[in-house]
């Protein structure tokens, strides 16, 4: 990937930190567990690193490390997403209607 100067990368890092705090401070207490598992899903982005390492590996050590990283990261991404989706599907404003209702 394009090499950026370290200072630029640090600038991006710090801005991302502030942005993260702003956005996440607005998440209500009620959704803190989905927030955690959603954040879990997002750090699965390390899958990009795993693909790059495995795709560029030519000795067996790197292949093994890259492969393991890919398995872990994929499980992280896929599992994190599904768990979050499952959980968020449960949050409802009103109780489930006990009979068939036309109005929703």
């Amino acid at each position: 990937m394009t090499e950026l100067p370290l200072v630029i990368e640090l600038t991006i890092l710090v801005l991302a930190a502030f942005l993260g705090f702003e956005v996440i401070a607005k998440v209500p207490t009620m959704l803190h567990t989905p927030l955690m598992s959603g954040a879990n899903f997002i750090h699965g982005i390390v899958i990009v690193g795993a693909i790059l390492v495995l795709g560029g590996a030519d000795d067996s050590f790197t292949k093994v490390a890259g492969f393991l990283a890919l398995v872990l990261a994929t499980a992280n991404v896929v599992g994190g997403w599904f768990v979050t989706d499952r959980m968020l599907g449960m949050f409802k404003r009103r109780p489930e209607p006990r009979r068939e209702s036309a109005d929703e």
Binding site: M1, T2, E3, E9, L13, A16, L19, G20, I24, K26, V27, T29, M30, H32, T33, P34, L35, M36, A39, I42, H43, G44, I45, V46, I47, V48, G49, A50, I51, L52, L54, G55, A57, F61, T62, A65, G66, F67, A69, L70, V71, L72, A73, A75, N76, V77, V78, G79, G80, W81, F82, V83, D85, M87, L88, F91, K92, R93, R94, E96
Partner: protein, 461 residues
Amino acid sequence: MISDPDVLALLYLVTIVCFIVALKFLASPRHARKGNWVGGAGMLVAIATTLLIDGLENWALMVVGLTFGSVVGVVGARNVRMTAMPQMVAIFNGVGGGAAALVALAEWHEALDPVWDETLSIVLSALIGSISFAGSIVAFAKLQELVSGRPIVFPAQNIVNVLVLGGAAVLGVAALAGVEEQWVLYSLIALAALFGVMFVLPIGGADMPVVISLLNAFTGLAASATGFVLDSTVLIVSGMLVGAAGTLLTLLMAKAMNRSVVNVLFSAFGQVQTGAGTARSDDGRTVRATTPEDVAVQLGFARKAIFVPGYGMAVAQAQHDVRQLADVLEQKGVDVKYAIHPVAGRMPGHMNVLLAEANVPYTQLFEMDEINPEFAQADVAIVIGANDVTNPAARSDPGSPIYGMPILDVDKAASVVVLKRSMNPGFAGIDNELYLDPKTTMLFGDAKESVLKLITAVKNH
């Protein structure tokens, strides 16, 4: 195939935007699920983009890895019980951290004469990733009760921990100073993992919300450090977003316990029965046990009841029955609300998820600050498997270890019913004065069974 770096950068920017939008959508439970889909789309863009980069090899391994990881992820995510969600979150923290450490390890192996900032990024990614990996595995084992949830302590623990972490740091500095041997990073990873194990072992079950949040932040930071190694902005930004989320939650949880993060991590809270609270129970007041029938009578005359769920409800898997009890009461005209303490359970928001699973509308769930003024108007407060978060000693007894912790003002209700397995103190190991209050009655037994008996009794009343 993509070879233009600008195109790559733009596609990764799409991912970043998707992630931020996903987090923004989490601000409201109505849109949160959509947000997760947006985040998922962003992740797909990132994965597809990366796979399309020119010159990648090892496709067979790639396909096997992606397939295997996906199967594990889907199976795990589908089958996990909502009560086991803290363990699940811990495991996902762990695998993410492990992946980051492995990427760093591979980069160290490949790097020829790395410049200092690359080495620093590799060291940080390996260090934080390994701590997160090992710490999360221990947290998982504790939550799954594979090892005791109580603090595990030995003499001079903190000194040993500092030495282990110090050793890892020395190796990191050596790597920076130009020692490019392979063993340097191996040893660093081993020491960091050992530190991860040792720093989580002495932390008690009730402090898990803090630890899980902190490990979440660690994994995010590890991913971010990996971004510096690979010069990938999408990793830097996404990792930092998670780092910010984890840090914020860590601070919130510690605040909800009125303790500093350092105190939570290094004091092995709850390992001993503290003397301060115990002495008081000898002033003639005794605990009064009650029966489901008596509670049903009490509830029959109530206009307003507040449920206070805690970890005991999760352990007994009683959330569905609790909701049924609320339904029955509502049919009888009782106004039912739920009071949720921020650190009830084993992770942030644990109770909300369980009650959502049981189909309790979130409009019935109230945070501590909202519900506390209402206890005074409640006829009955029903405490279901919660303990320390209801202990009035936190308000009144400066000698109590939990003094100053914001609590639910359960004792302000006209009467209190506590559903509890036995008289054992909670995870903090502190006696609860609430149980000696003359208006408190105790309904002993498994939370699920007690609630079921209550449902029958209320129906017959």
